[in-house]
Symmetry: C2
Subunit: 220 residues, 2 copies
DNA sequence: CGGTCACATGACTCCTTAGTCACATTATAT
DNA sequence: ATATAATGTGACTAAGGAGTCATGTGACCG
């Protein structure tokens, strides 16, 4: 939790700090992200940072929490929770990648948290977040199974892992790849996400849904 | 490339260094992995390490290369390259997770390399490796498409990303999860992989194949 | 025995990091 | 105007990192 001081800050300043810090954590692994670097780029003193946050971990968790909440809100906004399973899943996937393209830093911070191994300080925290995502998908899958939308013999936990893997960053990576954009460019040049049209995203999403729905096998 | 000195080393000593270094790199992100730590645990002097390798990156790349080659060889050994697509894929998946369970450190080092973002020094190297894996799957997929095993309308590049995501570490994570083993335990206690029977692995693999083949949708 | 070469060593340099603290500045309230 | 509280500051500490180097050890060869 950030200290009260940070919350009292002028909107503009607070936002600047968040921006700069996000950029740092999006483009470096936690242990390599540098507070000295952040304060320099944000134009504030090192000591000030410690008036705002207890320590590096506190700052990071604040940002991660922020990013996760924004992404979640974004997805919920673009989704009809009463739609049938595949429609819902399609909307989730579409909103997920759109969010990542519109908010490269936020998206990257969340994606990193899902994948980073070996950051001992944060292990516990990451696991909680991952478990929450898994359970979300599991719930969705079980409901769809009860309703007969998907096959009964599917292992919903395993599927949740698969979905999370695809959603996590696989898809966004694929998209950047098709456009020949490196992640490095993507994080520094925020406007690059606009290269993707809504049709691009829709097409990719529907391919994924089609795959998940029908599988790969050619049926004669 | 390691220096000649390293290759001249007594087998036993060389192996010990490799073991210790692998453990360090498997359980810490590259930037946090510590040479001082490695040499201390391997019982050699810091200076000696620099008689063996040019620098940290050199050591890491040597290990990653080793791990990747071993995994590849392991998979090739357990696979019939003339089998049909789904059989081949099943064998690859099975061998892949078996390798990860039998060689936790090696498997983890490879998996980390696939996912780590923001390690600027290694970006280029990682991308080469990832691209190779993608192309391997793409080739496989295109061949299957030509033979009519899988549908023509599938995007093989996209599918390659999906497969890589599943293979990469998703499945091994799922397996550890089902047994309630944390990655941390798994990396320190090498024998833990034996908890999984060949049947466990076979069952999970066939579930994945079934999913990829037929999709999730309930067909009446 | 002496000399040469390969390998071993750990104290050392230099750098960067997270985090601190005594002090300066500004805002608020009386 | 004065007092009190809230913010801001950057030089500083301590710890740890990668990488170096002068010196030591031992093996082999003549």
């Amino acid at each position: 939790m950030p200290k009260q001081t940070f919350l009292n800050l002028a909107e503009e300043k607070r936002q600047r700090i968040i921006e700069v810090a996000l950029e740092e954590f999006a483009s470096h692994p936690y242990s390599k992200a540098s507070l000295s670097n952040i304060v320099a780029r944000a134009g504030i003193a090192k000591g000030s940072m410690y008036q705002y946050f207890h320590d590096k971990k506190d700052l990071y968790i604040y940002l991660l929490d922020l990013a996760a909440k924004e992404k979640l809100a974004y997805i919920q906004k673009g989704v009809d929770p009463y739609a049938n399973f595949f429609t819902l899943l399609e909307q989730i996937i579409l909103a997920g990648i759109r969010f990542n393209l519109e908010n490269p830093r936020l998206g990257q911070v969340v994606a990193n948290a899902m994948e980073y191994k070996g950051e001992e300080v944060l292990q516990e925290f990451f696991e909680r977040g991952k478990e929450m995502s898994l359970q979300f998908f599991e719930g969705m899958l079980q409901q769809a199974r009860d309703r007969g939308t998907i096959r009964k013999d599917l292992d919903s936990r395993l599927l949740a892992y698969v979905l999370l893997g695809i959603l996590g960053s696989g898809l966004s990576e694929y998209l950047l790849d098709t456009m020949g954009i490196s992640r490095r460019e993507f994080l520094t040049n925020t406007a690059l996400g606009e290269k993707f049209s809504e049709e691009d995203l829709g097409r990719v999403t529907s391919k994924v849904i089609h795959l998940l729905r029908n599988g790969m096998e050619a049926k004669e």
